[in-house]
Structures are given as structure tokens and as C-alpha cells.
């Protein structure tokens, strides 16, 4: 029989365990006398705590030392109980049920990813900014951007202009048409 550890019992005493862990622990406590005693000890400490908080003067160092001693005693008692039991049977890592759960988890993960990819999450409003990029100019807000590109033209062949009303221009000679081309983006 595998006993729950000290932390699990302490959390159970405070009602802080999750649903599945609580059900497992309750099942074990129903047939394990020693763990029930440890649980009772934790519950006793909990009941004493409200009273302690009302005590005007507490010697915290002394109390901490006592608590540490009690925990050590409890751990030692737990070791004694476990040493009397036979070693747990070696179990196979992957049984049919576990493999099915693992596969279901992967499928759920992938499905969630696809859903997140396609969803349009709500985003905080951000300011519109007009700026140059590596090979173009853009007006963008948050995740959205509108870019006009001057692909195939080196940066020193592009003359930039800025409009204080919220615009930017990139002037270059298009290598394919031979014409001067002026791309402009506007934030209006």
C-alpha cells in the first residue's frame, strides 16, 4: 500500500486538495489507521491555530522549533510504517489505458492549437504608427499592418519622405519598369 505524503495529508486536513487527489486520499484513509492518526494530528493543529492567533504574546522561535521537531517526528513515524510493508509491485509504464489517455491529451493539445490559431483574440487598442521597414514602409496598429514594398531595391536607392499629418513615402526607380515610383502610406 502506498501512503500519501505529509504534505498531502496536511492539505487534506485544511480542505485544500483538488477533487481527484481528495478522492484518492479519502479512499486510502478509509483503510489506513496510521494515516488517519496523522490526519487527526494535523486537524488538531489547525483547530489550535485560531486560538494561537488570539494569544497576545507568542514566542515564535520556540513555536517554530516545536513545529520542526513534530514534523521530524512525523516523518520518522511514516518511515517506520513504510518499512513494515512489502515493496510495491513493479508496474509497466505503458498500459492500454495510459496510452489512450496520452494519445487523447496530444489530440486535445493539437485541437486547442488549431482553435487558438483561428480565433481572433480581443486586443487592447494600440496607437497607429507610420514607419519604414526593412524593404518597405508601413502603417500599422497592433497586429495589423498595411505595407507597400520596394522589393529588390537597396536602402541607399530609396528616398524617404515623412508627412506630419501621418504619412510616409518611399521614392525609388523601379528596376523592372524603369520609372520613378513613389509608394505612400497614410494613417488618416
Amino acid at each position: 500500500m502506498k501512503h500519501p505524503n505529509q504534505a498531502t495529508l496536511a492539505l487534506h486536513a485544511g480542505g485544500d486538495l483538488g477533487f481527484f487527489a481528495r478522492r484518492r486520499t479519502e479512499k486510502h484513509l478509509a483503510r489506513c489507521e496510521s494515516c488517519r492518526e496523522e490526519l487527526a494530528a494535523f486537524e488538531g493543529i489547525r483547530e489550535a491555530l485560531p486560538g494561537l492567533s488570539e494569544t497576545p504574546e507568542i514566542q515564535w522561535n520556540l513555536l517554530a522549533a516545536e513545529m520542526k521537531a513534530n514534523i521530524r517526528l512525523g516523518l520518522a513515524a511514516g518511515e517506520c510504517v513504510r518499512s513494515g510493508e512489502s515493496a510495491p509491485r513493479r508496474m509497466r509504464l505503458f498500459t492500454g489505458a495510459r496510452a489512450a489517455v496520452a494519445l487523447a491529451s496530444i489530440v486535445a493539445l493539437v485541437a486547442t492549437g488549431v482553435l487558438l490559431e483561428n480565433s481572433a483574440p480581443s486586443r487592447a487598442e494600440q496607437r497607429t504608427v507610420v514607419q519604414r521597414t526593412a524593404d518597405g514602409i508601413q502603417v500599422g496598429t497592433g497586429d495589423q499592418a498595411f505595407r507597400l514594398m520596394h522589393t529588390g531595391v537597396s536602402a541607399d536607392e530609396v528616398t524617404l519622405s515623412v508627412g506630419a499629418q501621418g504619412s510616409m513615402g518611399a521614392r525609388y526607380v523601379d528596376p523592372k519598369t524603369g520609372y520613378v515610383t513613389i509608394n505612400s502610406v497614410y494613417a488618416e
Binding site: 490559431e117 497592433g142 497586429d143 505595407r147 528616398t159 526607380v173 497614410y186
Partner: protein, 382 residues
């Protein structure tokens, strides 16, 4: 039997993972819509967009649109400039672009190519209908007459480009007449030197101040150093902007119409310099009023609620140390456009910040590809 099952499982997981990492599909032809009015003086002869693709990158969808368009001049006059408006309704609310070809010389019946390479990044899946709409915003003719809806002020823009082109061609013709081909060659090489990348980058955050960063020093008003052009029809009197660290916002410049004609548009050049004396590109500060009317001898405030952020070439914030302003463009009520003369732009305060004009860029490229003879032949055409 068991290994076969494992293989199937591995294939399933791999397929799902591939979908998560990347999705690359060709975009259908109806993703792009070219809208031309029935009386449009240009017609679409051909469109190739088969390299356009949609790619999923994480939760984002990246749409690469490559359009090779061919238009024909269906009018009776020579076309000297075209502006196309490019709009994507679903991406970046209010965001749009334009592709302009200035310095053209397209005879009636002649065809001309326009390439549009664009990228849309969006967080959602594609919806039905066209992703991009391309409209004709304006066409400028040799005699400076204009056709088009002019949503993006293409009339003024193309006219200014054409006036600059005439100015620069005349200058280069004078250089050729006085200094010969060698003199012209030297002048064209200087255009190439002015084409070098400006050391400071600018980001524009329109509509008011940005969220104040605790890292920025306190904001203070900084005065413009104004460059005076004696022949400018509008005079810049004084100006200032709020400056904090690498941010300069809300430029405000007082101007006076000293010409004899009413003015309907004024644009100022705005050059930012950092502590090391490095300059940004000249930002233009257009008058914001839609129905501006500035009579002779009257004054006006040109202002824009916008923030410029200054960065070095490596992306580090560069503190704004000095601001220079100059009159960059004036449009009169009769539609005529004034631009600075070449002598005006020789001012040392502007020389590095004001790049070559579109026409200078075209002629320098022509020289690079075809040599001095090709350049001389091109100048003779005008």
C-alpha cells in the same frame, strides 16, 4: 500491426503540427479589384498577380500581393504623372496607400507598366470579396491639366512633382550648355551623393501626443530655426514644437502670405537634428485646414497634432536637439504651385536633409544604366 498504427499516429501529429506552423496558399484572382471610371483616360491592358500568396504565421495571416499592371493612355494628351489609390478595407482601419509615377512622358495610345508590391498583416482569417481595391486617383497631363477624383490630393502632388521636374531639367540643360558632357556627368554624380541614406529615421504617430514615458525628460517648447527663402511667396515668421527626449510633437508655425495672390495650401519642411548634428529626412508639415484661404499680407498658423520620434540607423532613440523649418510648397487659389528653387535648397542647413527630386533620381538612374549619351538624349526630349 503495432508499427503501422504508430506510423499513422505520427503522420496525424505531423500534419497538425504543419498546419500550426505555416500555411501557404495562392490567392485567388478576385482578391484584387481594379476600379476605373467609364470615362477614365487610362485603361487596364493586363494584370499579373499569380505570385500573390497568403501565409499563416502563428495567429497572424500575412498576405503578399504582387501586381504587375499594364495601362494604356486612352486620352488625347501626353501623360506626365499618375497616382493610384490602394485600399484594403479590412486591414488597419483607415489605413491606405498610394503608388505614384511622376516624371512620365506617355503618348496617346502608348502603354505603361505599374508594379504594386504590398503586404497585409492581419490577425484574422480571410473573408470573402476582394482584399485590395486599386482606384485611379489622378492623371496629370503635359499642360498641367488634370483628371481624377483627387481623394489623395494627387493634383497638387503631381503638379509639384512636375514643376520640380521642369526646374531640374532646365538646370541640367544649363549645366550641359555651359560645362558640356563632363560638366553634366559631374552634376549627376553629385545627385547620387545626395541620395545617400539619411542617418536618422523617423516614426510618425499621428493625432496627438503619445503615452508619456517615464524614461523621457520633461517636455519643453523648442523654437524652430527658420530658413528664409527670398523668393518664397509665403514667409515663415516663427514656430515651435513640444520636445521631450527623442519625441517632437505638435509643430506650430506662423506664416504670412507676402505674395499678391491668395494661397490655399502651405507646406513646411521640418528637419530634426540630434546632439551629434545628424539630421532626419525633411518631414513635411502641411496646413491642416481643408478649406484654407490665406489672402495677401495675412498671417496663419500651420499646425499638426502629431508626434515624430527620432531614431538612429541602429534603432536607438536619438534625442531631438535642434529643429529647422522652411517653406517647402505653396499652392495658390488658382491651382498654381510654387516649390523652392535649386538655389534655395543649396542652403547648408538643408543640403543633407533634402534629397534629390524625383526627376533627378530618374535622370541619375538613366545615366547609371545608359551613360552620359542616354542622359543627353533624354534631356533633348523636353
Amino acid at each position: 500491426m503495432r508499427s503501422k498504427g504508430r506510423r499513422r499516429l505520427a503522420t496525424l501529429i505531423l500534419l497538425c503540427a504543419t498546419r500550426l506552423v505555416a500555411q501557404d496558399i495562392a490567392l485567388p484572382k478576385d482578391s484584387i479589384n481594379i476600379n476605373l471610371a467609364k470615362d477614365s483616360p487610362v485603361t487596364v491592358v493586363g494584370m499579373i498577380s499569380n505570385e500573390s500568396r497568403a501565409t499563416a504565421r502563428g495567429s497572424l495571416l500575412v498576405l503578399d500581393l504582387h501586381m504587375a499592371l499594364t495601362f494604356r493612355n486612352a486620352g488625347a494628351s501626353r501623360i506626365h504623372g499618375v497616382m493610384l489609390r490602394v485600399v484594403s478595407q479590412e486591414v488597419t482601419l483607415g489605413g491606405k496607400g498610394s503608388v505614384t509615377i511622376p516624371s512620365m512622358n506617355i503618348a496617346p495610345g502608348e502603354e505603361f507598366p505599374v508594379r504594386i508590391d504590398m503586404q497585409l498583416v492581419r490577425p484574422t482569417q480571410m473573408a470573402g470579396g476582394p482584399l485590395v481595391e486599386v482606384d485611379l486617383d489622378g492623371v496629370l497631363y503635359q499642360d498641367l491639366s488634370f483628371y481624377g477624383p483627387d481623394h489623395l490630393h494627387s493634383r497638387r502632388y503631381l503638379t509639384a512633382c512636375e514643376v520640380e521636374a521642369q526646374r531640374d531639367r532646365e538646370y541640367l540643360k544649363r549645366v550641359l550648355a555651359q560645362g558640356g558632357k563632363e560638366g553634366l556627368r559631374r552634376e549627376v554624380l553629385q545627385i547620387g551623393a545626395r541620395q545617400q541614406t539619411v542617418p536618422l529615421n523617423v516614426k510618425v504617430v499621428p493625432h496627438g501626443p503619445t503615452v508619456t514615458s517615464a524614461a523621457l525628460p520633461p517636455e519643453h517648447p523648442e523654437k524652430f530655426a527658420l530658413v528664409e527663402f527670398p523668393d518664397s511667396p509665403v514667409e515663415a515668421l516663427e514656430g515651435w514644437a513640444q520636445v521631450a527626449g527623442n519625441e517632437a510633437r505638435s509643430p506650430n508655425i506662423e506664416v504670412r502670405n507676402r505674395s499678391g495672390k491668395p494661397v490655399k495650401y502651405v507646406e513646411l519642411g521640418w528637419v530634426l537634428s540630434d546632439q551629434a548634428g545628424r539630421q532626419s529626412v525633411a518631414a513635411s508639415v502641411p496646413s491642416a485646414e481643408r478649406d484654407l484661404y490665406l489672402p495677401p499680407d495675412k498671417t496663419l498658423s500651420v499646425r499638426q497634432e502629431t508626434t515624430l520620434r527620432l531614431f538612429s540607423a541602429s534603432g536607438q532613440p536619438a534625442n531631438v536637439q535642434k529643429m529647422t523649418g522652411f517653406i517647402n510648397q505653396v499652392e495658390f487659389a488658382d491651382g498654381k504651385v510654387w516649390v523652392p528653387s535649386r538655389r534655395n535648397l543649396q542652403d547648408p542647413a538643408l543640403l543633407r536633409a533634402v534629397g534629390p527630386s524625383a526627376e533627378e533620381q530618374r535622370l541619375a538612374s538613366l545615366y547609371t544604366r545608359g551613360g552620359i549619351e542616354a542622359l543627353v538624349e533624354e534631356l533633348k526630349k523636353f
